[in-house]
């Protein structure tokens, strides 16, 4: 683990804006300095108003850390939060070519590298998929012979709210060691045309118990990211099912 973080402010340029869901936009930011990061880390964004008022928020990187030699751009997934001054700026004001001040990478506990052969479990709620997406992409790009089996349980409200759905399904179809469960919490089964990898109820204890039973061994690590109450519930399910406390890493968004 690194003992220092890259904490100098940089001025990045917005090179792509993609509407990923009704509430989430993906921003690709070109960094002026080669800034290696680890899958799961985040950056701090700082906005400064003409009157000097400043606001800072943290956003997880959703892009893969490769190529490690030239990571000069990062993708941030920004969810529009009601009354959110920074997220509303990104959603309503930011255009291609705009400059954004940021620094990072930050954090280091909620990170993963595809080096161990033991399975790993990912549980994401909503935009909590962002840091986990970086890990999944990192895994897909890994140039190692034996890649950790990965199980992803991803909770979203409706079909339209599933971030990265095509990419996740493509990995799940092509990689027998990547298991995907998408849990739609506000969607009736009959309303959806796409039933692959879907369940039409929230991730609950039976979901996790049954998913864990498909793994050859207990996961070496579990990563949970999402809203606070979601993470709390998921962590408690894992502990109840006998997953060791110290193998569970969490990242919590919001109150």
């Amino acid at each position: 683990m690194n003992s220092t973080a890259t904490t100098d402010w940089q001025i990045a340029t917005v090179t792509s804006i993609h509407v990923e869901s009704p509430r989430v936009k993906l921003f690709t930011l070109e960094l002026p300095v080669n800034t290696p990061f680890r899958a799961g880390q985040h950056f701090d964004v700082r906005l400064t108003a003409p009157d000097g008022y400043k606001a800072q928020r943290s956003y997880s990187v959703s892009s893969s850390p490769e190529p490690a030699s030239n990571p000069t751009s990062i993708e941030l997934a920004v969810e529009l939060i009601s009354d959110g001054e920074v997220s509303s700026y990104f959603h309503e004001a930011v255009e291609l070519g705009d400059k954004i001040e940021l620094r990072g990478p930050i954090g280091g506990h909620f990170t993963w590298s595809p080096i161990a052969a033991k399975p790993v479990v990912m549980i994401a709620g909503g935009s909590g998929i962002a840091p986990i997406m970086s890990m999944i992409r990192h895994r897909s790009n890994a140039a190692v012979i034996k890649i950790s089996p990965m199980l992803l349980m991803f909770s979203a409200r409706t079909e339209a709210d599933i971030l990265f759905s095509a990419e996740l399904e493509s990995i799940a179809v092509n990689d027998p060691d990547f298991n995907l469960i998408i849990a739609l919490t506000r969607s009736e089964e009959v309303e959806s045309d796409n039933r692959s990898f879907r369940q039409f109820r929230r991730i609950d204890r039976p979901t996790i118990k049954s998913a864990l039973s498909t793994l050859a061994t207990h996961p070496s690590r579990s990563y949970i990211c999402g809203g606070s109450s979601f993470v709390e519930a998921m962590a408690n399910y894992l502990l109840d099912l006998g997953i060791p406390n110290n193998s569970v890493r969490t990242e919590r968004f919001g109150p």
Binding site: A5, I11, L47, Y89, I100, E101, E232, N236
Partner: protein, 200 residues
């Protein structure tokens, strides 16, 4: 760098100034690096160590039998939120040291918690009423998500220094990084000087 199209949210002025880079939060966000620890008050204890020697140990009942202190304070989390006017009740580190019959050694303290969390602060920042073990928040038993039954509270530093599920304080001569400090978070963490990360 100015963002010309950014004006910030129109908001009421805080009751008191908040540190640079922070925003005011009405709720009480939960941020923990792992699962919420399940701590049983019946078997919980807290110890103070100096180097390798344990100089005092207190059970839940013994902690509650010590002089209690009420604290009205503001909280500042490195994830950018600040919360004003929080009310806590607990026992100062001074009271624990007095009960053990010792004075705080000069140097540093490593706090350790259930679940393996650690964080470091100078000794001077936990004495003279600056550091408490708290068990009551807003008149109610401290919830597990917020570090209950007992957490450390050092409100003049960023909140990651106020270790949840506290089990020991160890006085050490030389400063060492704790859990987040090893990942590049600041060794001291003064919110008013915006000491978020190592070189801030």
């Amino acid at each position: 760098m100015i963002n010309n199209k950014f004006f910030g949210r129109k908001r009421a002025e805080p009751a008191r100034p908040i540190p640079p880079g922070q925003y005011l939060e009405d709720g009480f966000p939960v941020l923990s690096a792992g699962p919420t620890q399940r701590v049983d008050k019946a078997t919980w204890n807290f110890s103070i160590e100096i180097g390798d020697d344990t100089v005092g140990t207190w059970t839940w009942d013994e902690l509650n039998a010590l002089p209690q202190t009420d604290l009205h304070t503001d909280l500042h989390c490195v994830t950018k939120w600040s919360k004003q006017d929080t009310h806590w009740r607990g026992v100062t580190i001074d009271a624990l040291l007095a009960n053990a019959g010792i004075e705080a050694p000069v140097g540093f303290v490593m706090a350790s918690s259930d679940g393996g969390y650690t964080t470091n602060v100078p000794s001077a920042d936990v004495i003279d009423g600056k550091g408490l073990l708290v068990h009551t928040y807003d008149g109610e038993p401290l919830e597990a998500e917020h570090g209950g039954p007992v957490r450390l509270l050092i409100p003049h530093l960023y909140l990651w220094k106020s270790a949840k599920w506290i089990r020991s304080l160890k006085f050490i001569d030389k400063d060492e990084p704790g859990f987040w400090e090893r990942y590049g978070y600041h060794m001291y963490g003064d919110p008013w000087r915006e000491q978020r990360y190592t070189n801030d």
